[in-house]
Every structure is written in C-alpha cells, then in structure tokens.
C-alpha cells in the first residue's frame, strides 16, 4: 500500500486511526463524572498533540537516523510561526500561504545553520546548534532585525500578531477574521453528545491530523529509502562511509534541512491554530522538549516520537490538574496518618512538580531503556510471547522499525 511493506502500512494505519479517532479515544469519561478531568479531547490540547508529533517526527529524522543531536531545533519552530503570522498580516487569514512560507523560510535557515554546524559532529554539533538557536532567540526577543526595517519584524517581547491596520491584501468582507482555509474557520467545532459523553470535532485539529499523517508517511518513506540507509550508515561508521566513496556532508545537510522543514511546518501549524508568534517558542527549553519527546518515545523508531509527544503533552496537562485534594481522594481509603504521608510523598511529583517527574522519567529511560517507550513495549510483548518467540523478536527489534 502506497509503496510500503505490510508492517509499515500497518503502522501508518495505526497512526491514522489514532489521529482520526482521537476525539473519541481521548474522551473516555462522561463529561460530568469525577474522572472527566482525565479527558484530553479538547481541541487545543489535541492540536498540540499532533503539532508536536510533526515536530518530533522531523527531529527524529535527524537524530534517530544520523545520531546528530541538535539542541536548537526550536529555532525552526519559531521561524515557522513568525513566517506564518507574517503571511496573515500581509495576505490575509487563509493559512495556506503561511504554511508554505513557514516551510520555505525554515528550510533556508536550516540550510545556513546546518552548513556551519555540520562541519563538526558530536558534542560540538550539539553546542553549535544550541548557540545558533539562542542567538536567534535573542534576536527575536529584542527585535533587532525590526530596527533595520523600521517596522517590527518579530515584535520583541510582545510577540507578533495581526492588527486590523495590517494590509491583509486578499482579505475581504465575507472572510472570517481568524485563520481559515477558503472560509472554513480553523476553530469551528462540532460537538457530538452521546448520552453522558460529549465529543468535540474541531476543523483545525483534523487539518493538523491530516498533516501529521502525511508527515509520518513521508518519514516512513525516508526511513526505507536508499537515502535513509545512507543516514543510518552515517550514524554507524563515518570512516567506512568515506572509504566507500560516499560524501557524508550533503547527506547530513539534506536531512538537517528536511528536519528543519518539519519543525517549520509545526511552527506554521501552531500559528494557524492561534495567530501569534513569540520568541519563547525558540528558547532552548523548547528545543530540549522535543529532545525529551523523541528519546522518551524511542529515537530511531518510526512511531516513537509520536508516542513521546503525545505522552509528554498528555501528562503535562493531566499532572497539572492533580492537586492535594485529588491526592487526598485517591488515598482516602487509607488511615488518616498514612493518607497524609502518601499525599506528602506524592505531592512533589504532581501539579507543578510535573517537570521533576519528567526529568526523572527521562533519566530512567536514558539509563535503562535507550529505545524509549517503543523498546519498553517490545520487551513486554516479548515476555508475553514467551521465550522462544522472544529470541526471534530480538532479531527484528534490531532493525529500526516499529
């Protein structure tokens, strides 16, 4: 199917299914029940799932295949957002020109940054990308470029947004004043009520979901292509690459640019859901986040980054809601003293302590489970299948699939 083998096609179907049925899957609890706080089927949260999925899939093309760890990928995310908002300002709220420009501009930046950073590998590369991203962040935050144009380009701390005084060349009376595609508003939502449940179907979400599916499909094709094979060879042994008559530089640069375009696309999507672009989107913390997502899910695996992005964004949202009252209700079956003790023990890790949990989880994954959630899943599957099947599975787990 679509030039994929059976397993990859299956994987694509799984991702497509998850994305298309997310409004149901993420809202398993009735709206009025106590468990409703664990529902995650809100349009803006679901949009974040898939947008960060696109970002992480692109990051994984670089890191997972070549082993080059970029610590500045959020720069392209921010560049994508700024480009899209500029299209809104100049042309109007139809998101398509913005999406195109965000990919093109981030590709140009990725080409420049990659050209310089890829002269080095290993630690140097990580630090160079980090330095470039921090520089772009500082430029955006102070709007240095705007100084030369006499008009704000990134609009500094305030962030770039659309004003009524902007030209919006193709805007007309009958088009909405918010992001849309040919009049169809991004934020339009249809709510389906089934008994005690309610499900939101958001146009913007489905647009992002389709892009994620397309982006994922492209990633599978790249993984399985001769180009993808060369990238894995770069990770494995650059010396042998050189002595096999292959020039590693254009390969790494090409994938760096592709990966930057994915990030730019994600940035453009973010702006399309909410027509704002701020410098904080480019800060190193944002770059760190996509690293966390990819490693947690499973770097070098196909589906890992999507799982990682969903996992982190879901728990970030859910953990934030767990306060002491919730904890007390969880442990209420215990005697009072014990209940308080348990609450005190768990308290640092939930609510605002989510980052502590995330940091610990991340360390554990790096130490014990370098293949991330995907490897964890495979190990569990092996246990279940028994020993004989397990030996067979070890062989397949070594091919970077799943």
């Amino acid at each position: 199917m679509f030039g994929l083998n059976k397993r990859d096609a299956g994987l694509l179907l799984v991702v497509a299914g998850l994305a298309l049925f997310a409004p149901f899957l993420l809202n398993p609890f009735p709206t009025d029940s106590a468990m409703a706080q664990f529902n995650a089927g809100y349009p803006d949260l679901m949009q974040r799932f898939v947008i960060f999925g696109v970002f992480a899939v692109g990051f994984n093309l670089l890191f997972g295949l070549t082993g080059y760890l970029s610590f500045g990928h959020a720069a392209f995310l921010g560049i994508g957002s700024y480009s899209a908002v500029w299209m809104f300002k100049l042309l109007g709220y139809n998101i398509l020109p913005g999406m195109i420009l965000s990919v093109v501009v981030s590709a140009v930046f990725a080409l420049m940054i990659g050209y310089i950073s890829l002269r080095r590998s290993g630690i140097y590369f990580s630090i160079l990308t980090l330095a470039f991203a921090q520089m772009l962040f500082a430029i955006a935050y102070s709007d240095l470029i705007g100084r030369f144009f006499g008009t704000p380009i990134t609009n500094g701390e305030t962030g770039l947004q659309v004003y009524t005084s902007d030209p919006q060349f193709f805007h007309s009376e009958n088009l909405p004043d918010i992001p849309h595609i040919f009049g169809q508003k991004m934020q339009s939502t249809y709510t389906l009520d089934v008994g005690a449940w309610s499900f939101d179907f958001n146009f913007g979400y489905y647009f992002c979901a389709l892009i994620l599916i397309a982006a994922f499909y492209l990633a599978i094709r790249i993984f399985r292509s001769p180009f993808g094979l060369m990238l894995r060879a770069v990770k494995s042994n650059q010396q042998r690459m050189n002595y096999t008559g292959l020039n590693t530089r254009p390969y790494t640069l090409a994938v760096f640019v592709i990966s930057g375009m994915y990030a730019g696309l994600a940035g453009g999507l973010m702006a399309s859901m909410d027509p704002l672009a701020g410098a904080e989107r480019m800060q190193w913390t944002a770059s760190g986040e996509v690293v966390l997502m990819t490693i947690l899910g499973g770097a070098g695996t196909l589906i890992g980054p999507i799982l990682g992005a969903g996992f982190i964004k879901y728990f970030e949202n859910i953990f934030a809601k767990i306060n002491d009252n919730v904890l007390h209700s969880w442990f209420s079956f215990m005697p009072d003293g014990l209940e308080n003790l348990m609450v005190a023990l768990v308290h640092p890790f939930v609510g605002k302590g989510w980052h502590l949990t995330l940091g610990l989880l991340f360390m554990l994954v790096v130490i014990f489970l370098p293949g991330g959630l995907v490897e964890g899943g495979q190990r569990i599957a092996q246990r279940l299948r028994g020993k004989k099947a397990a030996e067979k599975a070890t062989d397949t787990s070594k091919t970077p699939a799943e």
Binding site: I123, L144, G156
Partner: protein, 342 residues
C-alpha cells in the same frame, strides 16, 4: 570613556563566573571525556548554599516581649536568631551579616559530596556510552536538580545580601585621574578577586602537585597514563568533585550579585558552553581567557549607547563572535589538535 571602563569592570565579574564554570566543564570534559549538561545546576546549587546558610543562621526562637505590645494589646512576639542567643547579640548579628562568605565553608564539603555522588552514581556508567547519551542523561539530571531546588525554595529569586561592610561602591574615578566618579560596588571587586584566587589555585594545583600532574597527563593521553599503573579513575572522581566545588563556589559568591533562582544554572550553562568552545575544547587557559573575553564583551555591548542602536545586542554578540571564531579557528582560541575532532 568612563562608561566604557565601568562596563569593562562590570564585565569582569560576569566573566569570572563564566570562566569558573567553563573551567570546571573543561576539567570534566578533558579528564572524563563527558560533557556535563548538569554543570550549570552545580553553580546554582552553590548559590543556594548561600541562601541555606543565611536561613540556618537566621533560624529564630520566638519569645513574648515584656514591654512592647501590638495594637491589640497582646505582648509582641519577638524573633531572636538562635545564634544571637548563643553567641550574644553582637557576634550573632555579625555571623548573620557574614553568612555569604561563611557559606563557602559550608559549600565546599557539600559540593564535593554532590560531585562524588554524581560521578560515582551516574556519570561513571556513561563513559563508554555515546556522547549523545551523556548529554541526555546530564540534561535530565539538570532538570531534576533544578526542580528539586524549585520545590524547596520556590520559583522566585531570593535576595541574599553581602556583608554590610561591602555595601557601597569604590570610586575608581580619582584613582584613574578622571574628573567624573566611577562607582563600582565593593562586592563585585571581592567577587573578581575571589574568582582570580580560585582560578589561580586550580592552576597551581594542576601545575605543582603530583596529583595535578597525573591529571594533566591523563587529559593529554588517558591510555598511556593508565598503562603506568596509576589509578586514574579514582583521581578523575576527585577531579569531578573539585570541578563541582569550583562551580559551586562561583555560585556561592555570586548570590549577592544576582538573587539566586532555580533556572540561573541553565542560563549560565548555555553561555559557558559557548565559552568552552570558543576557548578551545580541552584547554584550561582557553576557558579562562574566553570566559573573561565574552563576559567583558557582553558587558560592553550592554551599554545604553550601543543598545539604543542595536537592541538586544549584548545577548547576541557572544554568539556572533563564537560563530565567527569557530569558522576561522575551528579549534577555538587555544584548542589542541586532536581533541574531539571526530
């Protein structure tokens, strides 16, 4: 002119902090071959040592005043720090006043211990893993340390004053024969002198002790030193502790300059990496030189005259310079051939 001199002086203490962190990073990198993304967190922990000592010294007993009453007529509660109870009001107050310098005594064992635990407990297991893994696990550790501090100390910056003797400024104006005054806070002078002393001590230690010689030899060629039958691993563990202590002490004394907050480590770390790369990976003098250079550059670029024309240039200039240096001198200012070339 005087403004430039002032900015130059201001740059010295930011540069000192960069130099001290970069020095530790280089030591760890040169000896263990590990890039420590948690090194900024060590700087931050050092700063919080100051906060902690100050809090300990100001722990107070409450008593009811015999004479004074509050507006409801109840006896007023008076807090008296225990140290004042024990040592008398004058000595006690002096101890509290001098809590930041006293924190040095507290911070040295704490930082050494933190360093040893980090190296033995975590970093050791990553020597043979890919560099990407080392970066990732120390990055995770940095997040954890940062969040732990945030949990115990909150998210807001905590002002930690210097001893009152050092409040006020020294006027460089007359000294330099200028008509205008050139006020420079005493504490910043202290910080610079302190940093210079530590940098000197580290170099002297490496230069003149047998231990230091072995470490330097190990930095140059680990395998050969290992062949000599010298237990290089144990020395490297100690070296990690020392690097942690250097970063920590840099943090302790920095507390009065910038109120400690939980994310200060990462803020400094990113720039310290740039410093290390500009100085030349693996070069200790390079780290110090680049630290001061970039600190002063940042300070000069933050002058209002320049910022009015080029907003934000103080944050940008360091990266621009770093990129230019790396393009023209790929090994940095003083980098040796063969260090991290692959």
């Amino acid at each position: 002119m005087d403004a430039i001199i002032l900015q130059f002086l201001n740059g010295l203490d930011k540069g000192s902090a960069y130099a001290l962190i970069a020095l530790g990073l280089t030591l760890i990198f040169g000896t263990l071959g590990v890039v420590n993304f948690a090194h900024g967190a060590l700087f931050m922990i050092g700063a919080f040592c100051s906060v902690t000592v100050q809090r300990i010294l100001t722990l107070s007993s409450e008593s009811l005043s015999a004479t004074e009453k509050d507006f409801l007529g109840n006896p007023l509660k008076i807090k008296t720090p225990y140290v004042e109870n024990w040592f008398g009001p004058e000595v006690g107050a002096a101890l509290i006043d001098w809590s930041v310098p006293l924190a040095i005594v507290f911070a040295i064992p704490v930082m050494l211990l933190v360093g040893f635990i980090m190296e033995r407990g975590l970093i050791k297991h990553f020597y043979k893993r890919p560099h990407a893994d080392q970066i990732l696990v120390t990055f995770g550790l940095a997040i954890v340390l940062q969040e732990v501090i945030k949990y115990f100390y909150g998210a807001n910056p905590l002002p930690t004053p210097a001893p009152s003797v050092f409040v006020g400024s020294f006027d460089f104006g007359p000294l330099l024969g200028l008509d205008t005054s050139l006020a420079y806070p005493y504490w910043r002078l202290v910080y610079f002198a302190f940093s210079a002393a530590i940098i000197g001590a580290v170099f002297a230690f490496l230069q003149f002790t047998t231990f230091g010689m072995v470490v330097r030899a190990g930095m140059a060629d680990r395998e050969t030193v290992g062949l000599l039958g010298i237990d290089i691993d144990r020395r490297f563990t100690i070296m990690f502790g020392i690097a942690a202590a250097v970063a920590g002490l840099a943090g302790v004394m920095y507390a009065p300059i910038n109120s400690p907050n939980y994310h200060m480590g990462m803020d400094f770390l990113v720039l310290s990496f740039v410093v290390v790369v500009v100085g030349g990976m693996g070069s200790l003098p390079g780290a110090v030189l680049a630290g001061f250079m970039l600190g002063i550059l940042e300070s000069l670029a933050s002058m209002n005259e320049i910022k009015n024309i080029l907003p934000g240039i103080d944050q940008i200039i360091i990266y621009v310079v770093a990129i230019i240096i790396l393009l023209t001198r790929p090994r940095g200012l003083m980098g040796r051939k063969g260090v991290m070339e692959e």
